[in-house]
């Protein structure tokens, strides 16, 4: 299927054509909105996200339908074909709207890494991985005293999120099929204790337990 972007609408939500509004009814978004993001368009995306206030798992599942060329022509919209990679970037960027400016900037930079970004053989970051990172961060963002992680690229095209404070650090690395989680506890004599765990990709509840450990709300490392 050829994917498309819709470039004809650049106004506020209440000025949006009826046909596009209807695409957002029923609690799910159905379109990849734009070919070229602008400030106006970003604001429009923010309005959409705020109005819907969807839980992360509802926003753009990977099998979401995307406007097909014929359909958009039928409602009189200007369309421009997008490659799959670009479309995936828009999906990730759209989902990231509720995150902090720093996290959005990190995600944008990660999405732009090309082959050999390390000067060697490092791979570009997989968009599905970034999508899962956004889901997880949106979920964690709802927790009290949430702080943004550092997000760093791995050489195999995935990412690792890191939180550090004086006593504890937490690393959540995207690996094939899930997450590898590592915790480090620094004791009062400066000795370190290392913990490891694996977690399924969509097991946000368990990941939240690890974050709670980092935040000091759980004293014991959450073991299986």
């Amino acid at each position: 299927m050829q994917l498309v972007g819709i470039s004809s609408f650049q106004g506020r939500l209440d000025e949006m054509p009826h046909q596009q509004k209807s695409a957002y009814e029923g609690g799910r978004r159905l379109a990849v909105p734009f070919v070229q993001a602008s400030n106006v368009q970003s604001k429009w995306l923010e309005e959409i996200t705020a109005i819907q206030d969807l839980p992360p798992e509802w926003v753009y599942p990977y099998d979401d339908p995307i406007f097909a060329t014929a359909w958009t022509k039928g409602i009189g919209l200007t369309v421009t074909p997008l490659g799959f990679a670009d479309t995936a970037k828009y999906i990730v960027a759209d989902k990231a709207v509720g995150l902090s400016a720093d996290s959005r900037q990190s995600l944008k930079e990660l999405s732009e890494l090309s082959v050999g970004w390390d000067g060697g053989r490092a791979k570009p970051i997989k968009m599905d991985v970034l999508g899962d990172v956004v889901r997880l961060l949106r979920w964690l963002h709802q927790q009290p005293l949430y702080i943004d992680p550092f997000i760093v690229p791995t050489f195999d095209g995935r990412v690792q999120m890191e939180w550090h404070d004086e006593k504890r650090s937490l690393e959540i690395e995207a690996v094939e099929g899930g997450w590898a989680v590592g915790g480090t506890l620094t004791l009062s004599d400066r000795q370190r204790v290392y913990f490891d765990a694996d977690c399924e990709r969509r097991d946000f509840e368990r990941l939240k337990n690890f974050y709670d450990w980092f935040a000091g709300r759980e004293l014991i490392w959450p073991s299986p």
Partner: protein, 116 residues
């Protein structure tokens, strides 16, 4: 004439350049050590500053003995003049499986010796 391959003593420092993407907030990420054969420069033949390249945010020093304690082997692997990115008599490799906890232990044993 080819560079001789030498035994690297436990107290030798090995310089590892840290890519700017792996130095967020001035903190070295354990991801920087995620290579089965991690390229480093032996301090005997190259300085920390000369180890950095245009993408480096920092250079850290790893003690060869500390690497060996983490089930790694340390091999002197000089690069000859006719080889890509040669000559580099300092080139060495920290070899072995680097699990998540080993990467973190390498990170925690590393000393920051140069920063952009």
């Amino acid at each position: 004439m080819a560079f001789p391959v030498e035994e690297i003593p436990d107290d030798a420092n090995l310089f590892n350049r840290i890519h700017r993407n792996h130095f967020p907030g001035g903190k070295v990420s354990s991801v920087a050590f995620d290579q089965e054969r991690l390229s480093v420069n032996w301090e005997k033949y190259r300085s920390a500053e000369d180890t950095a390249d245009t993408n480096s945010a920092a250079v850290v020093a790893l003690a060869a003995g500390e690497c060996r304690k983490l089930e790694q082997t340390v091999e002197h692997a000089p690069i000859e003049p006719e080889e890509p990115s040669g000559p580099n008599q300092a080139h060495s490799e920290i070899c072995g499986n680097k699990s998540k906890s080993i990467r973190r232990k390498l990170r925690d044993s590393a000393k920051l010796v140069w920063q952009k």
